[in-house]
């Protein structure tokens, strides 16, 4: 079994007086895809934001690539090789596709091939045709692809992917699944938050289930699919 690239221990976080996470622990192994499942408001996005430093953790530890990153500013965490793809896309709409990619560009770790726009266009062929176009003139699905491509330009070792399938047309969801699998092929570990069990089952090796800020289930993706009780209790709406 591969070693963990990301380890989260007893993470607490919240917004103002509202506490959202109550001691979340999880880990992500090198090169695997893990899904963090749960309903709306369960704490999925909050977990990813707290790992990335976008929301200051109020307790617990986060280790990435053997280094304690708890409480570091987001740019330091990103520079260590942890990428983040936000739920709301957050594309720079005034910039062209090419310029969006430029913002994400960082030199790769020694000895690794760098992602270039040209290489990314093989993964996301749609983007190639519109490299000079303003991001505001793209469809939601295209923007979602662009956010992932933008994060990959930083040559991350692992990526936090927040609700990648949300609000996308079925055909785009399929492309998204292909993109996640391609990232896995490239050796990038992915922790994605997801409500859509089918999507998660198609891409993830392991799953965590979060409810009210606590992890209620962890195990192989197949085990979650087989466990009707857990699915009933925490996932079905």
């Amino acid at each position: 079994m591969a070693e963990a690239v990301l380890e989260v221990e007893a993470l607490h976080a919240g917004y103002g007086p509202a506490k959202v996470l109550f001691g979340v622990s999880l880990s992500l192994r090198r090169g695997e895809v893990a899904a963090l499942m749960g309903r709306n408001g369960a704490g999925k996005s909050t977990t990813l934001k707290a790992i990335m430093g976008l929301l200051p953790p109020r307790g617990g530890r986060v280790r990435f690539a053997g280094q304690d990153i708890t409480g570091l500013p987001p740019f330091r965490i990103a520079r260590l090789g942890l990428g983040y793809v936000p739920e709301e896309r957050r594309i720079f709409t005034d910039l062209t596709v090419y310029e969006n990619l430029e913002v994400g560009r960082r030199a790769p770790a020694a000895g690794r091939a760098a992602w270039t726009p040209e290489r990314l266009f093989t993964v996301f062929p749609n983007l190639a045709e519109m490299r000079g176009r303003r991001a505001s003139a793209m469809s939601g699905g295209e923007q979602q692809m662009l956010t992932i491509a933008r994060t990959l330009m930083g040559n991350p070792e692992a990526v936090l992917l927040d609700e990648p399938s949300e609000g996308l047309a079925p055909v785009i969801v399929e492309q998204m699944a292909d993109a996640v699998l391609r990232m896995k092929e490239e050796g990038i570990a992915v922790l994605l938050s997801e409500q859509n069990l089918d999507f998660a089952a198609a891409v993830a090796d392991r799953a965590y289930v979060i409810e009210r800020g606590e992890i209620r289930f962890q195990g192989a993706m197949a085990a979650l699919e087989a466990d009707e009780q857990v699915r009933e209790a925490y996932l079905t709406v």
Partner: protein
């Protein structure tokens, strides 16, 4: 008006537009990335001019070549850019997340400090700069002589626009700046060190302001008043163009340059008013400016805070209140005439500050021009007494009525906006009022104002007048306080916290805000009227930006989260100013430093600290 004259006039308008654009582009860039409206941008402009009138003659001593002139201009701009970096590292970095009102105040603190620093270094006398070698002659255009330097300036604006375009689109730094203008947190999550990006932006912004100032030296002499006069014009340019948009700033600068060049022919006295009218008109049609984006104003990390829990007085506080009212009433029995004057002013400012916090704390309407209504009340009362021979009593009725009418007029436009645009528009209206009082010499006495505004004979003694003020101020504050607790006040708070939700439950947010704005203006007008009779005179400083900032500092000191904090803040602020001003020639420096210190270490004010103690002793909520 013949054709050649029109052409020359248009050209000189373009030259002014060019200078204005160079300065405004820096402000708009800095705002785009940091979301801070930097009052000190005008100070950078002034420093650029002062450094240039020092450096350029020194260089021209070596050799009177045109090249050395421009080397000197660039050196000055770079020096100012470095000062911008210093300001970012020492101050701005610490206030990116505080509400915009505090940011405006803190940067205004820098304005005050720089003013005194400039007076200390360069002295109070204006300094005339050298003319540019090689560009001193006039050029013949359609039979009219036009200065070559002005012609050169016309090309500077488009050149700077072009260079900025290249920088923003062809360099990584520029692309990052544009991305950060959209979403700076996301830029950080992609591994970009925002601190460096912000420092770089401040360098660029201050450099452009410094360049604008240094290029002015052959046209205008360096003086200690250039900071505030340019900053309002530059605010107007950036607001009309759309905050954060460089191209918008260019368009707006050209518009304003032409408006001034031709407006001066038609209405020589009210060119300033024309500019602000243009701004008001643009904002009514396009609330985010010509090329601005609504997102640039919304979606801030920190929303303006305000009165959270309008607690009623506890038993102890009732006792305290009774004690202070008794002390107030007893004061004339042992106070000297000077004590009475100070006490009267404290009361007047308490009402002005209370009415401002009624807007800011209760309504979330961050007015940056509240002094306008204070001053309009003072002018209404003063002019009635001196010019029309009306006695004090009706004049004191007229003060709140006139101020309230103007607040209703200006407020009609103001409440259509929100956030930083709203603050800028209130500032613009205040500057219109200021400009009229300053420029309409025959009616208002201009810069000197009007003297002889004295109370009626029965209230002539300082002690009696104090009682008049005390009764009116306490009554007005109690009335306003009553409104805070009334459903109207609660509705304003609801609209402050979520305009959409208030709207959805059937509240006409605009009408409520409009009424609130008018009411606050009328209360400030009463304070102004009382102040005029206390001082015995009126003058334009009563409606100037520094006065508005004083009021804001008072409510900040008192704490905008509390209902009564403004009163405490007014007393404390006036006391501090009264102690500092006679002690030192550098009172502005200390005042600025105190405002900055207040924002940095005491952002909830005295009242906020007390409220936190009351809620939960020893625990201040984060």
């Amino acid at each position: 008006m013949d054709f050649s004259f029109v052409v020359v006039q248009a050209l000189s308008g373009l030259a002014s537009a060019s200078s204005l654009f160079v300065i405004a582009s820096g402000l708009t860039l800095v705002f785009g990335v940091t979301r801070i409206v930097n009052f000190a941008h005008g100070s950078f402009y002034m420093l650029g001019a002062y450094i240039a009138v020092t450096v350029v003659p020194w260089l021209l001593e070596i050799d009177r070549s045109p090249w050395l002139f421009f080397v000197g201009v660039l050196v000055s701009a770079v020096a100012v850019g470095i000062l911008g970096v210093v300001m970012e590292v020492l101050l701005l970095r610490r206030i990116y997340k505080v509400p915009e009102l505090f940011q405006l105040l803190a940067t205004f603190g820098v304005v005050l400090m720089v003013q005194d620093a400039v007076l200390k270094i360069w002295g109070p006398v204006d300094i005339t700069g050298p003319r540019a070698p090689g560009l001193r002659h006039g050029v013949e255009i359609l039979g009219q002589r036009f200065p070559a330097y002005e012609l050169f300036l016309i090309f500077v604006g488009p050149a700077v626009l072009g260079l900025l375009w290249l920088l923003m689109h062809r360099t990584r730094f520029g692309i990052l700046i544009r991305a950060a203008t959209r979403d700076r947190e996301m830029v950080g999550a992609l591994g970009v060190n925002q601190a460096l990006l912000f420092t770089g932006t401040l360098f660029l912004g201050a450099f452009l302001a410094g360049l604008g100032g240094a290029l002015q030296i052959p046209r205008v002499s360096a003086s200690a008043q250039m900071d505030l006069s340019i900053i309002t014009e530059v605010f107007v340019v950036t607001v009309i163009g759309g905050m954060g948009s460089v191209t918008g700033a260019f368009l707006a600068a050209v518009l304003i340059g032409q408006l001034q060049a031709f407006g001066v022919l038609v209405f020589p006295k009210i060119t300033l008013v024309l500019v602000f009218l243009l701004m008001a008109a643009v904002l009514v049609v396009k609330p985010w400016g010509l090329l601005g984006k609504p997102e640039a104003a919304a979606g801030r990390a920190a929303l303006p805070e305000g009165i959270l829990n309008p607690a009623r007085f506890a038993a102890v506080e009732k006792g305290l209140l009774a004690l202070s009212v008794t002390a107030l009433l007893a004061l004339p029995f042992f106070g000297s005439a000077y004590t009475m004057k100070v006490a009267t002013e404290v009361l007047v400012f308490a009402l002005a500050a209370f009415s401002l916090n009624f807007l800011v704390g209760n309504g979330g309407i961050v007015s940056f021009g509240h002094a306008a209504y204070f001053g309009l009340g003072a002018y209404a009362a003063g002019l009635l007494v001196v010019k029309a021979g009306v006695p004090m009593e009706p004049a004191l009725v007229a003060a709140p009525v006139v101020a309230g009418l103007f607040a209703a007029l200006f407020g009609f436009f103001v409440v259509r906006l929100s956030g930083i645009y709203l603050a800028m528009l209130t500032l613009a209206f205040a500057q219109i009022a200021y400009a009229v009082c300053f420029q309409w010499v025959e009616f208002t006495g201009g810069d000197n104002g009007v003297v002889g505004v004295w109370p009626s004979a029965w209230a002539a003694s300082r002690h009696v007048y104090f009682y008049v003020v005390a009764v009116l101020v306490v009554a007005a504050i109690l009335a306003l306080r009553h409104v805070v607790y009334a459903p109207f006040g609660a509705t304003l708070r609801a609209a402050r916290d979520s305009e959409q939700r208030a709207d959805a439950i059937g509240v006409d947010v605009r009408v409520h805000r409009w009424l609130g704005f008018t009411l606050a203006g009328a209360a400030a007008g009463l304070a102004g009227g009382l102040y005029a009779f206390s001082k015995g005179s009126i003058d334009p400083t009563m409606l100037g930006i520094p006065m508005s900032v004083d009021f804001l500092a008072m409510i900040l000191l008192g704490g905008i989260q509390t209902v009564m904090g403004a009163v405490v803040g007014a007393a404390a602020f006036h006391a501090i100013k009264d102690v500092f001003m006679p002690l030192t020639d550098f009172w502005r420096f200390f005042l600025g430093a105190s405002i900055i210190a207040l924002v940095l270490i005491f952002p909830r004010g005295l009242g906020g600290a007390y409220a936190a103690l009351r809620r939960q002793p020893g625990v201040v909520r984060a």
